[in-house]
Amino acid sequence: MGILLFISVLLIAACGLIYELIAGTLASYLLGDSVLQFSTIIGCYLFAMGIGSALSRYLSRGLAYRFVWIELMLGLIGGFSSALLFLAFAYSQGFQIILYAVVMVIGMLVGLEIPILMRIVRERYQFRDVVAHILTFDYLGALGASLLFPVLLVPHLGLVRSAMLFGLVNVAVALWSTFLFAKQLPSVRGLRVLCALVMCALALGLAQARRITTAAEDNIYADEIIFARDTRYQHIVLTRFKDDIRLFLNSHLQFSSRDEYRYHEALIHPGLAAVPAPRRVLVLGGGDGLAVREILRYPQVESVTLVDLDPEMTRLFATHPMLTRLNQQSFQSPKVRIINADAFPWVDSNADSFDFIVIDFPDPTNYSLGKLYTTAFYRAAARHLSAQGLMVVQSTSPMFSRDSYWCIVETLKRAGLKTCPYHVYVPSFGEWGFVIASGHEYVPPTSVPAGLRFVSLDGLPSMFQFPPDMSPMSMPPNRLNDQVLVRAYDQDWKDISH
């Protein structure tokens, strides 16, 4: 019996330490600042163990019975502690209160274990042997746990399942104790049934652990991710929260379905409605088909050519039901021709002429994208404009990246174009800027398509007014050999984030 008893000591010591480590790791993982989390949790845990040891003196009779109960409770609470904490973080406001409460309860129960066990076996051994043996195995168990935890448990099982596995160990010790201390126990059968029930609960938890973590993580990362793919060119992520669909390219927000109509109506209508009899339209970028949706409101438009680099992007927006609802199946229109090509070489080698050109590229965050915002690019694009034609350029925010915005305006001017800057408010982006450019003076439209939710003739004049905090800055043009825009854009965002 001796060795079996001491193995139990070893196991319960390991369990106790594992719960402590899990609480510490989980807290650092979710709250950050691991030094603070580990110190407070270890301190709190040891303090609770002290309370447990102090309380042990008030237990006088039925020690074996109490020991089995303590093991059962530890198995249940410790085993589910990790899952409970994950869910608490995801669904409640008081994560820290729950965290420290769980640590206190587990600490107190662990603090009770060893004193009670010592008292149970004191009749069988000399006192000095009891202390020596029990504490030896206690520390050995702690050593084993502290090695197992980082090497095997965290990488292979994860926090939720590790806790449940050691919960099972606690319950196993409880069950085993009903045999070890059978003589000292009043009703062995009842206890064994209880053990079996808790074991079943933990086993079930172990099997379902993945669902628990997913449920918790989904909530931690806010919106549900409905699509994620690495294409040759970019990382596409679509999220949904209730009726709000958002597209992220390389983790930059491209649109939110709640207010994208503001962006796309503002991108298209001030320009396109001002072109007399537009027949042929070119869209560069805009693989989401939302600009095309707006263009198709003009029945006189006979053809829309869309040039976007990424075939997976255009395929996604041509086929995904949630997205085709958003762009009203604009890619299915017989008027629309999709070309998957790099925009600059395409513009440079193609000879077609267009009445309206939409230039809707990602912001100039690097020198590769910056090429698409240069005098050379705008000159090449302008060669495709028909006599009455206009082009419109997505031009970053005149509010948050004011230098960049006015740099784009200057670049268009230096490419020999007449420019007309304007801006709108898009809640998910903030103030956003566009520039209409052409070979002639821009004359605002006298009508806009029916059914628009944002652009109206009455509202147009205010778009062209820039309040003092967005008013023109004197900037040099962006050229292939001197990409001032990329540097300005980088600086603008640094200024904001500091």
Binding site: F344, Y367, S368, A376, R479
Partner: protein, 506 residues
């Protein structure tokens, strides 16, 4: 399951073999464009074919590099077509030759022209004709795209090649002082491109001194400044600062004041200019024709090439000047003309290597490497996505005697140089071996004229450069160093002299 020790070892070594197969991606390639055999035929006075054919021309241009093609360009532009250009190699262009594969065109040597200043009238005229300069504005497609250059030092990349990080106050002070001195030299008007315009005997003393010695005399002993200036000498002259005349070392900096962020460059380097010139000249340029003898006669000259004797009134000798004594009857060996040997490599990359930070640039230099770094042929693409490319890797064998280095260049085999190049690149791109599929090498024994101390002001150079008459020299080495502008200037000047004589007659 029991695994015997033997089985375990077998499995282990199989795994290792698997790894090494994956690690050592096969890299193919060879030496290309070797021309030393042809040069050695001249040197060793091999026997050449008997004369079977006779042709008559007013002008024969020997050498189809930038100097020869520029002479031809000027004659042709003046409506004069009774001339031929004879080029020894199969591909014309000389140091501006280029290559082409399924990914891109790439240079074999000269890969840029600094944005020419107002004094370089012929260069500006050419670029206006080629549409590079329009209404006083440079076409930005031909200006090197941003970001242009970077330097790897202290384990990271910095923008620009002049060291800007990790400088001590003393380094900074010396860089600043060097800059000030350069300003003075620039303002003196003595350092121009073309160099002949500003050359003044007042600066002859500078030419006698090695650049490194001049720097010491100025109290410029900063290791970093000296590394940088040494790099510039290796890059432009293929020589160390201690083997370069101080005049030439200063000319590199004092002759140019860029008005526009440059330089001008193309995927195939200066091969782009050669292509445009060849389009204009057509069959007037004949390649694969080695001129083995030139005999001045009483009223004309005979140029022997293969089995043909070309009788001509004028010869413009645009090939490297050191070859002339081997070809021209009665000409004595030259003493002052020294050349640096170079190795250039073109590396085909099937994927882009991981880079230790920093946007990829056109020119990439590693501090304290014996090589000159590499240039990315896809840098001038308009695409926003690049997946494969070609790097042109430059290595001027500057350290040691040129003759010794020429021998080394010919002795060592392809895999020796391949390994040396990969080893050099691995310091900054640890995964380079997984990216490269092909490395072709070009060996140039006499790649560039070397402006050793005393060369610029030597009577020999000045005599050959100033010649008039029926036999004219035109190679850039007459300026003491090999740059596009000087080659073009010498070629055009020679053509002008011919035209002046012919024009006077007609």
């Amino acid at each position: 399951m029991r695994v015997s020790r033997r089985k375990f070892l077998q499995a282990g070594s199989a795994a290792l073999v698997g790894l090494s197969v994956k690690g050592d991606r096969p890299i193919t390639g060879s030496f290309v464009n070797d021309s030393f055999q042809l040069g050695h035929q001249l040197r060793d006075r091999s026997t050449f074919p008997e004369v079977r054919k006779l042709e008559k021309h007013s002008v024969v241009i020997v050498g189809g590099g930038i100097a020869g093609l520029s002479a031809a360009w000027r004659l042709h532009k003046r409506g004069f077509t009774d001339f031929i250009v004879l080029e020894m190699n199969d591909q014309p262009g000389g140091n501006s030759r280029w290559g082409q594969n399924e990914i891109t065109a790439f240079p074999w040597a000269a890969h840029y022209v600094p944005v020419p200043g107002p004094k370089a009238a012929y260069v500006r005229e050419l670029f206006e004709e080629l549409g590079v300069l329009r209404n006083g504005e440079w076409d930005e497609r031909y200006l090197c795209f941003a970001p242009q250059e970077r330097l790897f030092l202290y384990g990271r990349w910095q923008q620009g090649i002049e060291p800007a990080i990790g400088l001590a106050d003393r380094d900074r002070e010396q860089f600043r002082r060097f800059e000030e001195l350069i300003h003075k030299f620039r303002d003196s008007g003595g350092f121009t491109i073309p160099m002949e315009r500003g050359l003044s005997p007042k600066q002859a003393d500078l030419d006698r001194l090695p650049f490194s010695q001049w720097l010491r005399a100025q109290g410029m002993d900063s290791t970093i400044l000296n590394w940088y200036l040494n790099y510039c000498c290796r890059d432009d002259y293929g020589a160390l600062a201690s083997d370069t005349s101080a005049w030439a070392g200063l000319h590199y900096f004092a002759s140019r004041e860029p008005e526009e962020k440059g330089p001008l460059t193309w995927p195939e380097g200066n091969g782009w200019i050669v292509k445009r010139l060849l389009e204009r000249l057509g069959p007037l340029v004949r390649s694969g024709r080695i001129v083995h003898r030139i005999e001045p006669r009483k009223n004309d000259l005979s140029v022997f090439c293969g089995d043909t004797e070309h009788k001509t009134r004028f010869v413009i000798f645009a090939a490297p000047t050191f070859l002339a004594p081997y070809i021209v009857e009665g000409m004595t060996r030259l003493q002052e003309f020294e050349y640096s040997p170079w190795l250039t490599a073109n590396l085909t990359l099937d994927r882009m290597p991981a880079s230790c930070g920093g946007d990829s640039t056109w020119d990439n230099v590693v501090m304290n490497s014996p090589t000159l770094g590499y240039v990315d042929a896809m840098h001038q693409t308009l695409q926003s996505r690049v997946e494969r490319t070609v790097w042109t890797f430059y290595w001027a064998l500057a350290d040691g005697a040129p003759a010794e280095n020429r021998r080394r260049l010919l002795e060592k085999d392809w895999s020796y140089w391949k390994e040396a190049i990969l080893h050099d690149l691995e310091r900054v791109h640890p995964d380079i071996r997984q990216c490269v599929s092909r490395i072709d090498l070009m060996r140039l024994g006499h790649a560039m004229a070397r402006p050793k101390p005393g060369a610029i002001f030597s009577p020999e150079r000045r005599d050959l450069a100033g010649r008039n008459g029926r036999f004219l020299f035109a190679n850039s080495d007459l300026s003491g160093f090999s740059i596009f502008e000087e080659a073009q200037y010498r070629g055009v000047r020679a053509a002008e002299k011919v035209l002046a004589t012919l024009g006077g007659k007609s």
